[in-house]
Every structure is written in C-alpha cells, then in structure tokens.
C-alpha cells in the first residue's frame, strides 16, 4: 500500500494554557484541506507546527512514510504563508520570490522565478518593494515565494483576508490552478465560507485544540456537528444547548427541543416564515430589525430568549419593525447538531 503524501499521526502541540491535538490527518498530493475553527482553536499553531516553527509535543509527521518530525524548517519542504504574509520589506518582488532559489545558490534572476512572476502576474511589479503593492499583489508575491521552494505541503493562513471580492476570486483561481499542476498538498486556514467551500476537498474543524470534524464539504453542509460548523456551513439560526435550556419550560419551544441534538439545533434563515396566524408548532415572535441585503431583506426576530434570522426574497415584502406574529418552520428543516462522534469521519 502506498504511504500518504503527507500524514499527521496523533500530532500534539501547544503552549502554556493550550493544547492542540491529537490531530490525525492524511493528505494526498494536490489535495486541499481547509482548516476552520473559532479564534484560539489552534489553527495557526497547527500550521506553525507543520512548518517546524513550533515544536510538537507528541505524534509524528510523515512525508510518504518518511518521518520528518524532527527535521528543521529549512529541510522540511513545507511552504508557509502566514497571516501577515511576512514579505521581506527590503527586497524587491523578484528578490522575495527568488529567495528560496538564492539560498540554493541559483543564479538571479532565475528562469523559474521569472516563470512564477509571470504566472502570478507580477512581472511588471518585479522591481517594486512590498510596501508599494496592493493587498492582492502582496498575497500573490507571498504565494509565488512559497511555491518557488517546491514545497510538498503548502500552509496558508488566512490568505484572503482584506481582499475585495474580485481580487479574492482571482487568487482562489490561481491557487486552484497551482495545486492542480504541482505536486503540492494545500492546508488552508480561512474564515471565509465561500472561499472554503470553493476550494476544499475536505474540512478539518478545530475547536479548543481538538478535531471536531474531518470530512468532505457535503458532509459538513448536511450534518454539521456543532454550533460553529453549522454557522460556517451557512445556517444562520443556531441554538446551542444553553439557548435551548433557556426556553425549556415554554410549550412553543417543544418542536425545537424535541428535534435538538446534544450540541443544539440549526435552521437556515431561508427556511423560516413569519406569519400573522397562530398555529401548532409556531413560535410567537417580534420583529426587532429589518436590514436590506443584495438579494432582499434580512429580518431579525425575537422569540422569547431566542434570536432568529429570516431571509426574505422579493416579491415578498418585509414586515414592520416591532410587528408581532409567529415563526413557522417545517420540522424537516430543523437540523440536530449531534456533536463530535456523529460528525467526525475521514
């Protein structure tokens, strides 16, 4: 049997007050795994540990079966693009991209460096320094620089934060092209669901340093395991066990409580209706706010201790703020959050 391109076996790392792991993950070449999780869940620690910049306290890293756990960062063959990019400010774009080649003693400018500059549309910016570039250009330099070292594994921490939609989409496209053409596995940290779902072969969800979910995007969408993954998968209405407990005595909450899983319950804002007639299973609600969005309206509803959100698309008209009514939802659209064991899988 072939060994995986990249394998993490029971990887543990941490610092005082925080422990990450164990993380078990196998990646094939050209596979994209998106790491998601709330702030402080250990995403960056995982990346730094894989890059060799943070020491792991347990477990192993294997490159096609070769143990690289103790290998120093310069010999690990991992590309790392940190959140702040860390471009070298005293070097031009060309010198940044050519840094890895330079350390190998390649002539400057290297043919391959020039090809990378061209591929990332940086040729005309080759003589500029990082502070003379836009956010998107800087991101492209960081990516080209990392790829110039021919990494086996590319680690990318929040690559698209602060970019406009067009620049973001361009970069995502470049990223997909590169990973499909090179033997590189990509581990990407992002908070942006639209980027994550467009590139991910699999998701790795971290929470408090533990792996809460590992699986494909469809599985994350159809059965998110906890409140974070439900929100990330696009469920606007997520009620945790604490939210549910706050309304446990209310008869109107019964259908929701009956359907809830150990981690709570989720429902898409598209699936809610705000109606004027009372009925079985309907929740009494007051409209708290109405906001426009590009596709219609977002309506904030207060149901006892719960805050729910409804999305309305034209030709439906939005209700008035402070209007009273009832929230209706088909029970089939109430998604129980079943917790770690249910959602986890390879």
């Amino acid at each position: 049997m072939n060994s995986p391109w990249v394998a993490l076996e029971g990887l543990r790392a941490g610092y005082p007050g925080f422990e990450l792991g164990p993380v078990d993950l196998s990646m094939g070449r050209r596979e994209v795994v998106v790491v998601v999780g709330p702030s402080g869940s250990g995403k960056t620690t995982l990346l730094r540990c894989l890059a060799g910049l943070a020491r792991n306290s347990g477990g192993r890293l294997l490159w096609e079966g070769r143990d690289v756990t103790s290998t120093s960062p310069e010999h690990r063959n991992v590309g790392y693009v940190p959140q702040g990019l860390s471009l070298f400010p005293h070097r031009t774009v060309e010198q940044n991209v050519g840094f890895a080649k330079e350390t190998l003693g390649a002539p400057t400018p290297d043919r391959e460096v020039r090809a990378l500059l061209e591929r990332f549309e940086l040729t005309s910016l080759a003589r500029r320094r990082p502070h003379e570039l836009s956010g998107g250009q800087r991101q492209r330099v960081a990516m080209a620089r990392a790829l110039a070292a021919h990494p086996r594994l590319l680690l990318w921490d929040e690559p698209l934060s602060g970019l406009d939609v067009l620049a973001r989409d361009d970069l995502v496209q470049m990223m997909l092209e590169v990973t499909s053409q090179q033997d590189v596995a990509l581990l990407l940290v992002t908070h942006d669901p639209s980027v994550a779902f467009s590139v991910a072969d699999r998701f790795l969800l971290l929470h408090g340093g533990s792996v809460r979910f590992l699986g494909d995007p469809e599985r994350l969408m159809s059965s998110p395991c906890d409140a974070f993954s439900a929100r990330f998968a696009g469920y606007e209405n997520v009620l945790s066990t604490q939210d549910l407990a706050a309304a446990s005595g209310a008869p109107w909450a019964r259908p929701w409580l009956d359907r809830a899983g150990p981690e709570g319950i989720a429902c898409s804002a598209e699936r809610l209706s705000f109606v004027q007639e009372e009925g079985r299973g309907r929740l009494p609600a007051v409209v708290r706010w109405v906001h426009r969005d590009p596709l219609g309206w977002r309506v904030g509803l207060e149901c006892g201790p719960w805050r729910l959100e409804q999305h309305l698309r034209p030709p439906l008209a939005p209700p008035e703020v402070r209007q009273r009514g009832w929230v209706e939802v088909d029970e089939r659209h109430l998604l129980p959050l079943r917790g770690l064991e249910e959602g986890r899988g390879n």
Binding site: Y80, S86, F88
Partner: protein, 294 residues
C-alpha cells in the same frame, strides 16, 4: 426662534481656540527645548574666532591627541560591536531565566557617574589589581596606556550598541525569520540576509551614539587614562592625552585656547554626526525600512 427650538450657540471660535491651544503649547515647549539644545553649541562656535579654530587644528598636540582619541574610540567601538551585537541578539531573540537582569546590567554604565566607572575599572585593571598585574605580565599594561583609554571608552559606551541592536533585532518580525527558514535558509543565512539588513539602521544608530560617547568621555579617563604612555613602549616618544583631557588641562592654563580646541572637537563631532545621517538617508533610499513588519 424656529419651531424646533432655539439654535445651539455657535461654538466654532471657542472650539477652534480649544483645539489650537494644546498644539501651540506643545509646539512652544518643544521649540524651547530645541533652542536650549542648540544655544550652547551656537554660543561656543561664535565665541571663538575661526582663525583660532584653524590654529588649534594645526597644533601638533591637538593633532596627536585627536588622532589618538579617534583611534581609541574606534577600537572601543569595534569591541562594543564584537561583544555587543551577539548579546543584543540573544537578549532580543531568546527567552531564558535572568534575561531582565542581564538587560539591567547592560544599562548600568549609563546611570553610573563616569568618574566612578573609572575608579571601578582601576580596581580591575590598575597596576595593583590582579587582572591589571596579570595583563601587564603579558605585556599589555592597561593603566595609562591606550588599552586603559579603550577600556574606559568601551565600558561607558557599549550599552548604546547592545541596547540599540537589541531593539533593532526585536523589531524584526520573528514570523518573517520563520518564513525565511521554510524557504530553505539556514539560521546563518537568515541572520545575514534578513535580520541584519532589517536591523542595520538601528544598529548603526547605536554605533554612532556609542562612538560619540567614547569621543566625549572624560570622567573615567581622568582616572585610567589621563596621561597615556605609548604602547608598545618606545624610546623618546611623547606622552599623549585624550582630547577631552587635553582640553580640560588647557582650560586651566589658557581658557581661550581650550575654547578653540572645544570648538574644533565640536565641529569634528558634528561632521561625524552629519556623515551618519547621510549614511542613514542612503540606506533608506536603498530601501532598508524603518519598520520590518511590512
């Protein structure tokens, strides 16, 4: 009066003064300080006729003394860089027990009266001190030789190199260093290609201050290097004085002559300072950034 009620009073003028006054007082206080810093230098330079400065510059005693002082201060600077940069790097980059204590020790010479520094060094390098005696037996006498002058200058000025390099190294983003390592650079490569170029301006600033401090030292020299015998000892060689000591001695005999020497030294120091600024500007023009966290 309108239906909505009385219009609020126009407060533009008061608001304007209120916003101008703090800025004006800050600018005034800053201006006073700048004037106070420049006034003595201006007074010194204008109190001495240019011809007197030229005569002082042509005096063999001043030439020898200034040359000797510059040589000793450069040697002190070299020592400060050789020993100070590694210490600054370790203090900036490593965490270890007692780091804060070492940082305080490094700054100690800055708060020590320099005469006391000279006396303390005499207890270590003097003719009756064990280390001084030992070095003398090796043929390197310290008391009243160039080495004594270098020791004093180094002692009172090293802190600037260590402190400035520590600050400069600390300003280099550790993440940037880490990224450079993942790109195949060894620790040495990273230091030479990333850390050092990004810290260079800060380090040069510290070196400049350190050298200027050595050049102007007198307190410690009164004890350990008042009259300097040539080293290695040679026959019929005149004794030297560091320039600050020479000015001090001359002042007791002929104040106008001492003022001319002082003006000459001031012009020399100003030229060196200007040279440093030009170097700094040149580095900036070449793209060495003030902040490394780009």
């Amino acid at each position: 009066m309108s239906e909505r009620g009385e219009a609020p009073p126009r407060s533009g003028a008061i608001g304007g003064w209120a916003s101008i006054l703090p800025s004006a007082s800050v600018a005034g206080l800053a201006g006073v300080l700048v004037v106070l810093l420049l006034l003595p230098l201006f007074a010194l330079l204008t109190s001495v006729p240019p011809m007197a400065i030229l005569r002082a510059a042509g005096s063999p005693a001043v030439e020898v003394s200034l040359g000797f002082t510059v040589l000793a201060s450069l040697l002190a600077l070299a020592g400060s860089v050789v020993f100070g940069l590694p210490l600054g790097y370790v203090l900036a980059r490593r965490r270890f027990p007692g780091r804060e204590v070492i940082e305080s020790i490094v700054l100690l010479p800055l708060v020590l009266p320099h005469l006391i520094a000279g006396l303390a060094l005499l207890m270590v390098f003097g003719p009756d001190a064990p280390l001084g005696r030992f070095l003398a037996t090796l043929g390197i006498p310290v008391w009243d030789t160039i080495w004594g002058v270098v020791a004093v200058m180094g002692y009172v000025s090293t802190s600037y190199v260590v402190s400035a390099s520590m600050t400069a190294f600390r300003a280099v983003d550790p993440e940037m260093v880490g990224v450079a390592r993942t790109l195949g650079a060894s620790r040495g490569d990273v230091f030479l290609q990333i850390t050092l170029p990004l810290s260079l301006r800060g380090i040069l600033g510290g070196m400049g201050l350190s050298w200027a401090r050595s050049l102007s030292e007198i307190g410690g020299l009164l004890v350990l290097g008042y009259t300097v015998y040539p080293w290695p000892a040679g026959a019929n060689q005149p004794v030297w004085n560091p320039i600050s000591v020479l000015i001090f001695e001359t002042y007791q005999i002929s104040p106008p002559q001492a003022l001319a020497m002082a003006a000459l030294l001031l012009l020399f120091a100003l030229s060196a300072f200007l040279g440093m600024r030009v170097l700094e500007w040149a580095l900036r023009a070449r793209g060495a950034p003030r902040e490394s966290r780009a």
